[in-house]
């Protein structure tokens, strides 16, 4: 091998290494955007509905799969639950949800996740056959795109103040 051919080989190797490094930078920078672009607003709303339906069904497996282990669940009363506490309250019947419906949901994507927010109707089954307690909340759910799938990291509900009473004549 001549000195010249050795130099060309070495230069080629350097070029390949630098190209590979540069290419990996591009891939890592676009990874979040790629994850995001895989989901449409309609798909996020469908995912949200899956979580709501699984909560109504008290489907612990499904709810668990859709929640991050470090998820925070803030109820309309301000009470806070961990993922384990939320699932436990569903499976023990402490929390029985008969209606859980997001209306006019707004989706805001961010790199690696999305916020799904909007007015939500919730009905809680009351003990002793009493009529269900109806709640009208603004609920925001923060979803993260994880390697294993999309998971809830935060769900927070805030009661929407009712309209002021009609003025007395």
């Amino acid at each position: 091998m001549t000195n010249r051919s050795q130099s060309i080989s070495l230069a080629t190797m350097v070029a390949v290494v630098l190209f590979a490094a540069g290419n990996s930078r591009g891939v890592s920078a676009q990874n979040g955007a790629a994850v995001r672009s895989k989901m449409t607003q309609a798909q996020m709303l469908d995912l949200q509905k899956q979580f709501e339906d699984a909560s109504i069904a008290a489907d612990a497996v499904k709810v668990s799969a859709l929640m991050s282990d470090d998820a925070i669940f803030v109820h309309g009363s301000g009470a806070v639950q961990t993922k384990a506490e939320y699932i436990n309250s569903l499976t023990t019947g402490q929390l029985k949800v008969s209606t859980y419906q997001l209306n006019e949901g707004q989706v805001v994507f961010f790199d690696g996740g999305a916020v799904v927010s909007g007015p939500t109707d919730i009905a809680l089954v009351s003990p002793g056959g009493a009529p269900p307690r109806l709640l009208h909340l603004r609920v925001s759910t923060v979803w993260l795109a994880k390697p294993t799938g999309w998971q809830v990291i935060l769900n927070q509900g805030t009661p929407i103040a009712g309209p002021p009473p009609a003025p007395a004549h």
Partner: protein, 181 residues
């Protein structure tokens, strides 16, 4: 001489091959993980405090710089505002805080962002000439921060008003109330 040259080339190639994963991995770190892992829970609590202090000061420019353009702000009464609406409410005096404090903060850091949540006390400035005491709200607040190339930005702030503390029962304590939505 030839043997020495070949050994040099072999060493150079081996070095390049060894450096390849480092170069590739290094770009991942530089793209996100380094700056994120260097942001501590304390940094995020301070960032949250900065947002709250700027809001109390009515510093629209400072607040604007910390909010993502698509941010959602949900007040304790369930009213939702966009970033523009929140800033306008501040600028016009419609929303004037005299106190905005976070107590017992909890920080959850995730890839590309963080949640800062805890107990929030907010007081509104009394109207000029009013003798009424300031209205104070006790809430559970959560702020979601996302990491952008230009810095951390608030993308969601939601407060849930806590029920007023009940007076101590005269008789036996009631059963633990169930968690409610």
């Amino acid at each position: 001489m030839t043997i020495r040259k070949n050994r040099f080339i072999a060493t150079a190639i081996a070095g390049l091959i060894a450096a390849m994963p480092l170069l590739a991995g290094g770009t991942v770190s530089a793209g996100g993980q380094t700056s994120q892992s260097s942001t501590t829970q304390r940094d995020l609590v301070e960032l949250q405090k900065k947002f709250q202090d700027l809001t109390v000061a009515g510093d629209s420019a400072g607040v604007s710089a910390l909010m993502a353009d698509e941010a959602i702000f949900i007040h304790g009464n369930g009213a939702a505002q966009s970033k523009a609406e929140f800033l306008t409410a501040m600028a016009t005096g419609q929303l004037a805080f005299s106190m905005y404090q976070l107590k017992d903060p909890k920080v959850v850091i995730f890839d590309g962002g963080a949640i800062v949540s805890g107990l929030v006390d907010i007081a509104f400035k009394a109207a000029p000439g009013s003798q009424a005491p300031p209205r104070v709200l006790h809430m559970r607040g959560s702020s979601v921060w996302v990491q952008r190339p230009s810095g951390w930005r608030l993308i969601l702030d939601q407060d849930t008003t806590l029920p007023a503390p009940t007076p101590p029962p005269a008789a036996a304590p009631a059963a633990t109330p169930p968690a409610t939505q």
